[in-house]
Symmetry: none
């Protein structure tokens, strides 16, 4: 979907749109019962919404492609995830709610183990504890570089975030992680001339860090990848004319919403607290992105029953959202996370949109097969936002 | 589908993927019974596969576009047939298994009839016999051009293949066939400066050939079209990480597979011999393209019953393929060939994919209508290979 076209057609009104993202929503059939998590779960409110609304399954990136959380959400926000890319360093920064600024160069780091020849023997340093990681990061934070602020923040286990803050730091650096054992880490190399300064500084950081880590076996070296800067995405206010709010428990999703200019509302740790936040701010925004994470987490755990339970939990949120009387209510997912695969997958994701003008279909239940057979069929996730705007009567006619 | 994206995401493993292409698979309802060839045929094994797997209908090029064999197969191999074009001269060379080399300039030739003014009276020279064509080609093969080897090979009836082999022969020549009667054949004209040399040499060939053909009425002149060179397609090994084998009875399909770097296995003339070839080489490759031609041939004949019989023949191949226990088994077609139209058509083509992770749908039979209602819906044929890779767990996540 071409954002320029949407921008041209957008009109404003007082309608309210809600998008509930059930992370990792889609699943696969349990081999014993032949039923997916959604088919198994008692989701009467979602089923009712499917019966009242218009269903389909979204393709986040392309058929066969398994999206990460970044591309999965950008697509639902209307941004082509192949065009708008968010680097791994930036995502890591979003994930720990680091206050990333426009000039920061971010990289994801791994502590690793090297042998006496300097060759990598473990790319994850035996998965050191998060506490050990934090102590190492604290030490490395005191590395000094000329004219540059250095931030080294622990993430989890062997993972950390490196931020260099200063003028003239371009992205466009190759990973220092060779992605295999028995060879030394690579030096940071500029992939374009503008990145020469950044490469020199990163290599200076690495040299100093390696000296401090020398006796910290198994975490006696480090690998960096996904060098990236804040991506300059057009904002939803500008493109879609939406004053949008994000309600999400996890920092990563708040961060992704921030990338596209949504206002991130403080909220609690449960879906009920998230719903209360929406209710509290109902008058202040015309678009609410509400994120529910547990379905993805339980899918990633490979725990079919727990994912079913999570679906039943989020199902109980639907009446509260409907009670707010939004003009457009949508429920979808950023990608599928079948518990059978214990990870994200490429499978299209169930989706439902309700509005007085949605042209309802014959769907009776909210699951993979029924949604697929619904009025929207298999369609790109980037069409979700334009469809929402249309149903909110926020798009004028294209052409005379 | 962007091949660069796929290339970035590909990982290798030991899975095996089979793609059975039933040429001209899709059909149209018999006006008397209302049933398509596939609906009429007793294809219990395909039906079973449809019930176990995930169905859809593929669009080879675009809705409404009838593909030739080249675009139809390239799409199934993952290559956008609008981006990757194979010239008619090259296809003709593949079709007669001419040993085409990178520097060869190929053209499809027609013997034609001209009157005493040199104007065309029959673009096909009364469809002279293949034997006559062969004799003329043998004569024209002895035409000499400076620094260039000349090959003139009979194809069938009035059709032949012209190859010029030598340095500096660019493609980019306009057809000499004006595609109408009452005018003379056109001279070969360069459409770009690099093709000037080729144009001069082709015109030299035409002049010499015309002298030799002068008394060979009705084949007293010739028309050339589709000047083309070996297209430099990225190879499936490079893009998809697949060590791929092709098993096909007809040269054209072996040639198309060769264009994308598949290993062409010698095989016999029947589907049983093709299956034996797959079995024999099962350990040596991770992707098998198996081509079945008879469905298309009987469709082209306009013979509904014979196409039904061919479908029943290829149906019996399914158990052999399933017995090999591939990780991913796919059955599709390069295009539809309804016997009602006695030719290729634009209709989407039934498709089924089976893998342990395919997310089966409610399809119970393998035919146009059931596949259309399947979980994949109507989708581009270029997504077939990415889907296969995803189901073989050969693609990593896109983005973090």
């Amino acid at each position: 979907m071409d954002l320029e076209l949407i921008r041209e057609l957008v009109v404003k009104n007082n309608t309210k749109i809600v998008l509930l993202v059930i992370d990792g929503l889609g699943g696969l059939p349990n081999p014993e019962t032949g039923r997916t998590e959604l088919e198994e779960a008692n989701t009467m409110h979602l089923d009712r919404l499917a019966a009242d609304g218009l269903c389909g399954v979204t393709v986040p990136v392309a058929l066969g492609i398994t999206p990460g959380s970044g591309p999965g959400h950008l697509a639902l926000f209307g941004y082509d995830p192949l065009k708008y890319r968010v680097g791994r360093g930036v995502l890591e920064a979003l994930g720990i709610e680091f206050d990333l600024r426009k000039d920061d160069l971010a990289a994801r780091g791994n502590f690793c183990t090297v042998d006496s020849q300097g060759n990598i023997t473990d790319r994850r340093a035996g998965r050191i504890s998060t506490e050990t990681c934090a102590a190492l990061c604290e030490d490395l934070s005191t590395v000094t570089l000329p004219g540059i602020q250095v931030f080294v923040q622990p993430v989890r286990e062997h993972r950390f975030l490196l931020i260099l803050r200063g003028d003239g730091l371009a992205d466009g650096l190759a990973d220092t992680d060779p992605q295999r054992l028995g060879v030394p880490p690579l030096p940071a190399q500029a992939e374009k001339p503008e990145a020469d300064l950044a490469a020199r500084l990163v290599n200076d950081f690495i040299d100093q860090a390696r000296k401090r880590l020398a006796d910290k076996h198994p975490a006696n070296a480090l690998l960096l990848r996904g060098f990236s800067k804040w991506p300059d995405l057009p904002h939803v206010s500008d493109v879609f004319g939406l004053n949008a709010a994000a309600v999400a428990v996890y920092p990563m999703y708040r961060g992704l919403a921030k990338l596209v200019g949504m206002t991130v509302l403080p909220t609690g740790m449960t879906i009920d607290e998230e719903l209360a936040t929406v209710q509290e701010h109902w008058q202040d925004f015309d678009f609410f992105f509400v994120h529910y994470k547990t379905t993805d987490s339980r899918g990633e755990d490979g725990d079919y029953d727990a994912k079913v339970a999570a679906l039943e939990e989020v199902d109980r949120a639907i009446p509260s959202l409907r009670d707010l009387a939004p003009d457009v209510l949508m429920v979808g997912g950023d990608h599928s996370t079948p518990s059978l695969l214990a990870g994200h997958s490429w499978h299209p994701v169930p989706f439902v949109i309700w509005s007085p003008w949605c042209r309802t279909d014959r769907s009776e239940t909210f699951d993979e097969n029924c949604c697929r057979a619904g009025g929207l069929g298999v369609f790109p996730a980037t069409s979700v936002l334009p469809l929402a705007l249309a149903n909110a009567r926020r798009l004028t006619k294209y052409g005379a």
